[in-house]
């Protein structure tokens, strides 16, 4: 598509607030999306992520705040004048039109000449690997194909911003995994500024340049996937991304302790009271033999062992009664050699993986 990708626009959201009665759907949100960036709004349902997307699309008018696409203020601009491509959750294809008519709809509205329209529709369909599907009816398509048509329709008029509202949620897992990679490639190819909404953390981690974790109408953290996973800003983010267990940390002077173990860490130690230690199942490991120097060791008693094919999941109670999970890769014979229920084990957590978080659960 020769005519896309040029002039992707940055998005600047400033102090946007939207209330429904007493509830803040968006609470003084500010956010910058860089030109050509793939940014994901990630959060649980009711967090405000969809409201924010609807503000960008123009379907929700916030109570206050500003929204700029490039240099232009957009907050009062009607949706049809925003020149934004949008993919909806259930595709929102027009069932009374053929695939080509669906994809050609935005071009027709822009009074594109017939030959150019046909050419661009076919090009857009080829981009989503549906070349030659133009004459089909919408009802004849599979879920994945509908998804692709919706995508083709939203990019065919070369919008400079693309919005996607949980576009893959209706697909089965295998197709979803494949579409994630495809969408990522498509984004690299077209270079539109993309804002993607999902509640699926893995999807967010797979696709995004940056992720904004949203909860209670606020952005809890805005960071690259790696930063988000390795150094969550607070308990909410740590809890939402990955399966974490948290231990209360005691502090006396500079000495830190949790569940009867003195903690060593190479990571940042936040100030203040109420620290907690984040433990992720795949970062914990079973110690066989002597513990290494650069790890924290916890005593625990195995409560359950689960076989999951590619990995095992071992649940154990620490000395303070907290249940933690340990995930490990498996090869033939690994499972039989694992400790059994009731066994006492030592769990290791590398000092680089010893992440301390301040504050209560947000």
């Amino acid at each position: 598509m020769s005519d896309t990708g040029q002039g992707a626009l940055p998005i600047a959201v400033r102090n946007v607030t939207k209330t429904y009665g007493d509830v803040f759907a968006l609470n003084d949100v500010s956010l910058d999306v860089k030109s050509g960036e793939f940014l994901t709004l990630l959060g649980p349902s009711g967090s405000g992520k969809t409201t924010l997307l609807m503000v960008l699309a123009g379907f929700t008018r916030p109570d206050s705040g500003s929204l700029k696409f490039g240099e232009d203020e957009m907050i009062r601009t009607a949706p049809h004048l925003r020149d934004v491509g949008m993919v909806f959750q259930n595709y929102a294809l027009f069932p009374h039109m053929s695939v080509a008519a669906n994809v050609g709809y935005p071009l027709k509205l822009r009074k594109t000449p017939k030959d150019e329209m046909d050419r661009r529709v076919e090009a857009a369909l080829e981009t989503v690997q549906l070349g030659g599907y133009g004459e089909r009816g919408i009802t004849q398509l599979s879920g994945g194909q509908k998804q692709r048509v919706a995508l083709a329709r939203s990019i065919v008029f070369a919008p400079r911003i693309l919005l996607m509202d949980e576009p893959l949620s209706a697909l089965d897992k295998k197709l979803r995994d494949r579409m994630q990679i495809e969408l990522r490639h498509l984004h690299e190819k077209l270079g539109m500024t993309t804002v993607y909404v999902t509640h699926d953390q893995r999807e967010a981690l797979t696709m995004s340049d940056r992720i904004a974790v949203v909860n209670h109408g606020r952005i809890m953290q805005l960071a690259t996937p790696q930063e988000l996973y390795e150094q969550p800003a607070n308990r909410f983010v740590a809890d939402f991304i990955g399966d974490s267990t948290f231990l209360d940390v005691t502090r006396s002077g500079s000495a830190l302790g949790a569940a009867g173990t003195n903690l060593k860490t190479t990571r940042h130690v936040p100030d203040g009271e109420g620290l907690s230690l984040m433990m992720r199942p795949e970062r914990l490991h079973l110690i066989t033999g002597k513990p290494a120097k650069d790890e924290n060791v916890f005593e625990a008693r195995v409560t359950e062992l689960v076989y999951q094919g590619e990995s095992y999941l071992l649940y154990a109670h620490l000395k303070d009664g907290t249940e933690v999970a340990v995930r490990g890769a498996m090869r033939a014979g690994t499972f039989d050699a694992l400790p059994k229920q009731g066994d006492t084990v030592q769990l290791g957590l590398g000092v680089d993986d010893t992440v301390l978080l301040a504050g209560e659960e947000a």
Partner: protein, 273 residues
């Protein structure tokens, strides 16, 4: 294996076990239809009076009907009123149903109830109310008054038919159209309306029939040269019982069933199959 012992559906219930159900359904349908159909033979009678079954056959009552300027005038009035009612009630009802469906404001449910009250109030009350209002407004016995009153009766039907069609319609489609560059009215015209067109046709026909068949309101507020066919029929039944009524009834049955067939043909969405 004969028909009686064959299974009637996916379950193992046989046609034999279902026989009572078939008979019941058949009797019910007959009872529904026969009173309507009985006028048809009566209309071809040669007798001065309504009688069944007729002893002699003739077309004289049809001649009488088509030859009478009074009956023809009333027929024209009825058609005119019905067509105008369709034109007034259908767009208003469609827009009202759309507004009710799309709106997020509180008390929208109450608005819906308000809109369909004409269906719940006894028609005679509406007729009396309309009569006194029209006297004040000086539109008694006018076509305007008749069309307004009939529209009042037809709008609730349109709202209900369109409202239920919109229930299965995904409003996100309209949002999609808007994000793709269509102003809201254009999104409605190109995306929503074509998908509810069958319901629109059905509701338009219902609006037409509401006016065409209506007698109570017409008794009160139509008259003179704006007397409807139904009103004149009612008066004729009271004053002189003559089989012209049966001839007119037959024609009305034809018109009504004709429209219903049209609704069936156009009202079935073939693309959904």
């Amino acid at each position: 294996m004969n028909w009686f012992s064959r299974p009637a559906s996916e379950t193992q219930v046989t046609h034999g076990q279902r026989l009572w159900l078939y008979i019941f359904a058949g009797v019910t349908m007959t009872l529904l239809v026969v009173p309507t159909l009985i006028v048809i033979p009566m209309s071809f009678s040669d007798s001065q009076y309504l009688e069944f079954p007729p002893e002699e056959w003739s077309l004289r009552w049809y001649h009488n009907y088509f030859g009478s300027p009074e009956w023809m005038g009333a027929t024209a009035t009825s058609f005119k009123a019905a067509i105008l009612t369709t034109i007034v009630a259908t767009p208003i009802g469609v827009l009202a149903a759309y507004g009710l469906h799309a709106s997020k404001i509180p008390f929208i449910r109450a608005t819906f109830v308000l809109l369909i009250t004409p269906m719940m109030v006894p028609v005679v009350l509406i007729a009396i109310g309309a009569f006194y209002a029209y006297v004040k407004l000086q539109i008694l016995y006018t076509m305007t008054g008749l069309v307004l009153a009939h529209s009042l009766l037809a709008i609730p039907l349109v709202v209900i038919v369109i409202g239920s069609a919109l229930k299965s319609y995904d409003m996100n489609q309209e949002n999609a159209a808007r994000s793709l560059g269509a102003p809201r009215w254009k999104a409605f015209m190109t995306i929503t309306l074509p998908q509810i067109r069958f319901a629109v046709v059905t509701s338009a026909l219902l609006a037409f029939l509401t006016s065409f068949d209506e007698v109570i309101v017409a008794m009160f507020i139509s008259g003179g040269e704006n007397s409807t066919l139904t009103r004149n029929m009612f008066n004729a039944l009271r004053d002189q019982i003559d089989p012209t009524i049966a001839a007119i009834s037959t024609i009305m049955v034809l018109v009504t069933t004709g429209l219903m067939i049209v609704a069936q043909v156009f009202g079935t969405d073939k693309s959904q199959k």
